[in-house]
């Protein structure tokens, strides 16, 4: 398929659709869909797609959208959906269920500020609300990355070593509604890349097991332990899936952690989602000017690539985290996890949080420059800095 100029939503919708279609010779695909700005275009794309064997069920709520997808997945179909913000909040109960039932559902999640107030712009608070559920989380910075990561997500989620749902996040409007050139996967590529789904625990009439019944503490805890083990296997499976992606599509969908200049950087910025693009530009310019700065773009947030992260920071003495979210009473969510990653291993490392672009604020290169200036001047880390708002 030629490279086209499409929105991030279009890329997500297309990726979900070709993935669904790729299971047509197996048990097909199905999804529950429900509109919410700025995700709506994704499910509209899916609803219009000329599937061979996929049922799109337009439901009455996000809760039921995930409900239908759970049912479809349990029946052995490739299942997916999309949502955003309060829609995710409404869906939370079933999001959790999909994870604990080990259903490889893929969800495109458009990051939008949780309301109230009425605010439809980018903020990662919605998907980060789900960070403790058994879901793999990917954050994208371009339409191409949305396209590629979605396919990658199916491939990883459905791997029998993993069997966990995956969420592909894209920033509201900055990605969802921004047209850009995107190499849209054609069906043949998707077919080659995605094996037929074979859910080992799908519901069969000859297998009268009850999912979700009572579990005693040890049995229930064992299930959690199983999830932990599967999560820990994700990075390796990711790399396999990435390599095969390169083989089929001829391009690299990127690693779980993408870096710039970390080989010698003394100061590193951590960026997630579309902020990474802006930050990349700033860091590149600074490096061109001879400054030892670097960038870590966190593509995969769950499972958290702790080892890789520590490795990328080995030369650094300062890390600035650009959090487009706010956890009340604490600060940025990414910052918390990054601090934890260095707990007891790098007591010398200064890790400062910068709350940037919250609730859809535009993150400009100048803001990143400001962050860098602040960071490089710091003697010690303090409470998160609210960028762009007077204290």
């Amino acid at each position: 398929m030629p490279v086209e100029v499409v929105t991030g939503n279009h890329a997500a919708g297309h990726a979900l659709s070709v993935a669904a279609e790729a299971n047509r010779d197996a048990r097909g695909a199905a999804c529950g869909i429900y509109p919410i700005t700025p995700q709506t275009e994704i499910v509209e794309y899916v609803a219009k797609y000329p599937f061979t064997k996929c049922r799109v069920v337009p439901v009455e709520s996000e809760h039921s959208a995930m409900g239908v997808s759970i049912g479809a997945s349990l029946a052995g179909a490739r299942a997916f959906t999309a949502s955003s913000s309060n829609g995710l909040a409404y869906m939370v109960e079933n999001i959790m269920v999909a994870g604990f039932y080990r259903l490889p559902i893929v969800m495109a999640a458009v990051n939008r500020t949780l309301g109230p107030p009425w605010n439809i712009w980018a903020d990662h608070g919605d998907t980060l609300m789900l960070r403790d559920f058994p879901w793999i989380q990917f954050y994208c910075e371009s339409n191409q990355e949305i396209m590629d990561t979605t396919l990658l997500a199916f491939r990883i989620a459905e791997d029998h070593r993993i069997l966990l749902p995956a969420l592909v996040a894209l920033d509201a409007f900055i990605l969802s509604h921004t047209q850009g050139e995107t190499d849209l996967a054609d069906q043949g590529q998707a077919d080659r890349y995605l094996p037929h789904l074979d859910l080992p625990h799908r519901m069969r009439h000859d297998d009268p097991k009850t999912l979700g019944g009572l579990m005693w503490p040890d049995v229930a805890a064992s299930l959690r332990l199983e999830i932990d083990e599967a999560m820990l296997r994700v990075p390796a499976v990711f790399e396999e899936a990435r390599a095969e992606f390169v083989e089929v599509f001829g391009r690299d969908p990127g690693g779980a952690l993408q870096t710039l200049g970390t080989e010698d950087a003394e100061t590193i910025l951590v960026a997630i989602g579309s902020i990474a693009t802006t930050t990349h530009e700033v860091v590149q310019a600074r490096r061109a000017a001879g400054e030892k700065v670097g960038l870590i773009k966190l593509k995969m947030f769950r499972p958290f690539p702790e080892e890789a992260f520590r490795d990328a920071c080995r030369t650094a003495s300062r890390v600035g985290v650009l959090d487009r979210n706010y956890a009340a009473g604490m600060g940025g969510v990414f910052w918390q996890d990054i601090r934890a990653a260095f707990q007891s291993t790098r007591n010398d490392l200064l890790i400062q949080d910068y709350l940037t672009g919250l609730c859809g604020g535009d993150v400009t290169p100048a803001m990143i420059d400001e962050v860098l200036s602040d960071l490089m001047a710091r003697e010690r880390a303090e409470r998160p800095v609210w960028m762009g708002i007077a204290a």
Binding site: H201, D207, K209, T210, V219, S222
Partner: protein
């Protein structure tokens, strides 16, 4: 610290018991904890609850692993598992009817106290019948075990709002608590056992408290690896406090059937549209289903429990249906050498011959007339009992190899000879002596005996064209004579009877039909004299021009006598006259004993040994004076069984009724009455009568007036009182699906039956009952 573990079942109030005990300590200023181990258990499932109390603040949020004492709310939970971790010397308080000594062997290391808290809870109406709430009773009992004052438990109950019956239950259980003998002897008031009971010792026990363990268990099963779907393996039967069992009663129809028919049994077969099987069941007792299905007064119908719902099941017509439509082959047993002679071929004699032939005896029937059947043939008109029906049933008897000697009357001398030639002789000559009436008139052709009249009518040797016929009597012969007269051209037919309709021995339906056909009935009327019209001569027997004049006298009913019938009493001055051209007497018959040695008294089944060398029996009406075909059949059958028993030495079934015994746990000999049935579970449904000849045709023909039922669906109305008819409602309604029918047998899976009792309340015929465990 004192720690108590409570073992109970969901719904018994175990957690609340922990709370009551804790509250009693709390009110005394101690630090307490009470909690349950919550899961998904439901009413009846085993549960655990815990209670701790201490003078110092409790710093422990674990389950209790090493309790000081144990309380068991349900005796079915008692087993080695419950004492896990129990400290030596710690008390076990058990809710049971047993004495402590009876359980001592099971728990040698611990003193045991018992109390029947279930009975106390039930008596105080705490909880439901199947799940009594025993906690407040056990709280009272525990006071003695734990060394509390009863008042402290009362205070706790009141504090928690448990009043009335709960307080009473606590007091009663406190009083009723049974302690080991040693303790009771020493100090029943304050039962203190060394090392345990007093508070100080309880505290001492707490001092050696075992800390909660750290355990590592293997990884749980994974559904990703195919785990799941195993059977629950929880024997919920252990929750039950009651269990269902099967029982059977005697249905009233079977009980009253003079022939000993398994009425319920053959109706069951017909209900399943199996006339062959129905006939087979009937032929077990009677060779005359088609006959009885036409002429039996059917006491079964009078006793039918369905009367209390919507009318009796039409058993008579159904028996006829089976007789007319069933096919059953008879297989006699091995032939035997013994010979049995039967005198008389009425229903009693033929029935006896039939059964004896089936047992393999060589049977000869001696009949004085040319035709077999006795009164069945001569005394019942064809419109009620066609001869071909009778012939067919007699043919079935003869097909068993019964030999017949007709026109062979037996007198006293020959009876003695027969006794020498046979191993047994049955005399079934019926009622040959006809009762007469003194009417102040000599021998006259105008007066007939009903029996003779009916026999003449059968042979076509009498007409009564234009005559005014008066029949005297209230039995079936009277009705038959009256109805035959109508068919033989009578101008009018009048039946006079000295009591009322209620006392008439005739089958009610036959009376109805006689009335429908035009017979007039004069109740409370006694004929006094018969005189030729126009003549006053007392002894004249010549008919006058206008025939005869019958003087009747009105009667009224006086006091009841003998079998409860009220004696008719003449009303003085009530005489009146009737015109009649023919008087038919149907006043009943009595036995003719002239065949027996003089002075013989006859009782059914009596062996006249001592008089004769071989057993001679008088059977049927001759012995019983019963007068019904069914009674004669029953007598014939019983006699045959008796003789078979005597000759073969084999045990024979001698019960009056022939209800097939189901595979049940308890067999009741009592008859089940309608109040023990659950009639409201049945749909009301009108009974079926079958079709009849139109009235216009009836009066001119001796054709059978009833055509019978066109199908056996009437049998589905049988309630099958007290006998499982495999309706399987119990199976249908059993919530657990653990009630199964295996063949004809109902099986309860007690391993899983929770004892809810739905099978009992939903059984319409009361064949399941519950027992306390």
């Amino acid at each position: 610290m004192v720690e108590i573990r409570i073992h109970g079942r969901g719904g018994q109030g175990g957690v609340t018991l922990a709370k009551i005990i804790a509250t009693s300590r709390f009110l005394l200023g101690q630090s307490v904890q009470a909690f349950g181990l919550y899961a998904a258990e439901r009413s009846g499932a085993p549960i655990q609850a815990f209670c701790r109390y201490d003078d110092d603040p409790i710093a422990n949020r674990n389950l209790i692993y090493s309790p000081d004492h144990i309380i068991v709310l349900d005796p079915t939970l008692v087993g080695p598992a419950i004492t896990g971790g129990l400290k030596p010397g710690g008390w076990i308080l058990i809710n049971t009817t047993k004495a402590p000594q009876e359980m001592a062997e099971q728990f040698p290391d611990n003193p045991i106290a018992t109390v029947d808290a279930t009975a106390i809870a039930r008596a105080n109406k705490l909880g439901t019948r199947s799940v009594p709430i025993v906690n407040t009773a056990l709280a009272g009992a525990s006071a003695r075990m734990l060394g509390f004052e009863l008042s402290e438990i009362h205070d706790a109950l009141e504090h928690l709002g448990f009043v009335g019956p709960n307080i009473v239950a606590a007091s009663q259980a406190h009083e009723a608590l049974r302690l080991p003998e040693a303790v009771e002897d020493e100090a029943a008031e304050v039962p203190v056992v060394e090392g345990v009971l007093a508070e100080e010792t309880a505290e001492a026990a707490g001092a050696v408290e075992t800390p909660a363990p750290y355990t590592v268990v293997p990884r749980g099963p994974s559904f990703l690896e195919g785990a799941g779907g195993d059977l629950p393996g929880i024997e919920t039967g252990q929750w039950a406090t009651e269990q269902p069992h099967r029982q059977q009663y005697v249905p009233p129809c079977n009980h009253v059937c003079p022939a000993g028919n398994d009425v319920q049994g053959f109706l069951h077969a017909l209900a399943h549209d199996d006339p062959d099987r129905a006939l087979e069941i009937l032929l077990e007792s009677s060779p005359f289903p088609a006959v009885c299905g036409r002429v039996c007064p059917a006491p079964c119908m009078a006793s039918c429990n369905r009367i209390d719902l919507d009318g009796a099941v039409n058993v008579r017509q159904l028996e006829r249906y089976a007789g007319d439509n069933g096919n059953a082959s008879l297989t006699p047993m091995e032939p035997r050498d013994e010979r049995v002679g039967v005198v008389g071929s009425g229903p009693a004699g033929l029935t006896a011959a039939y059964h004896l032939a089936r047992y393999g005896y060589r049977v000869t029937v001696y009949e004085s007339t040319a035709d077999l059947g006795g009164l069945l043939r001569s005394g019942i008109p064809r419109f009620r009992l066609p001869e071909d029906v009778l012939d067919e049933e007699i043919g079935r008897i003869l097909s068993l190899g019964v030999e017949v000697e007709t026109e062979h009357p037996i007198d006293r001398r020959e009876l003695m000879d027969m006794a020498g030639r046979h191993d047994a002789v049955l005399v079934a000559t019926g009622l040959q002596e006809l009762r007469g009436l003194r009417l102040g008139i000599g021998d006259t052709p105008a007066v007939d005996q009903g029996i003779d009249f009916l026999d003449l009518a059968r042979r076509g040797q009498v007409r009564v064209d234009g005559e005014d016929v008066v029949v005297v009597g209230g039995g079936n012969t009277a009705m038959d004579a009256a109805r035959s007269s109508l068919r033989l051209g009578a101008n009018s037919v009048r039946v006079v009877y000295r009591r009322t309709r209620d006392e008439m021995p005739a089958i009610a339906e036959e009376i109805d039909e006689a009335l429908e056909e035009g017979v007039q009935l004069d109740y409370l009327t006694q004929p006094i004299t018969l005189q030729p019209n126009g003549s006053t001569a007392q002894e004249s027997s010549d008919p006058g021009d206008g025939g005869y004049r019958l003087t009747g006298r009105r009667m009224e009913l006086g006091e009841p006598v003998e079998a409860g019938r009220r004696r008719p009493v003449e009303i003085p001055g009530s005489d009146f006259e009737l015109t009649c051209s023919r008087l038919i007497l149907a006043l009943g018959q009595s036995p003719d004993l002239s065949v027996f040695p003089e002075g013989t008294e006859v009782r059914e089944g009596d062996e006249l040994l001592g008089l004769l060398e071989t057993p001679v029996f008088a059977i049927g009406d001759l012995a019983t004076n019963d007068g019904t075909v069914a009674g004669a059949i029953g007598s014939g059958r019983r006699s045959a069984l008796h003789i078979h028993g005597a000759l073969s030495g084999e045990r024979t079934e001698t019960t009056e009724h022939a209800t097939a015994r189901r595979d049940v746990d308890v067999w009741h000999d009592e008859v089940i009455r309608s109040d023990a049935m659950r009639l409201h579970l049945f749909e009301r449904q009108a009974g079926q009568e079958g079709t009849s000849l139109p009235m216009a045709t009836r009066q001119s023909t001796f054709d059978e007036i009833h055509m019978g039922l066109t199908d056996p669906s009437e049998a589905k109305r049988c309630l099958s009182c007290g006998v499982c008819n495999e309706c399987d409602l119990c199976v249908t309604y059993c919530p657990e699906g653990v009630l199964k029918r295996v063949g004809h047998r109902l099986e309860f899976d007690y391993a899983y039956c929770k004892g809810c009792g739905i099978c009992v309340t939903e059984c319409p015929r009361n064949v399941i009952f519950m027992s306390h465990l």
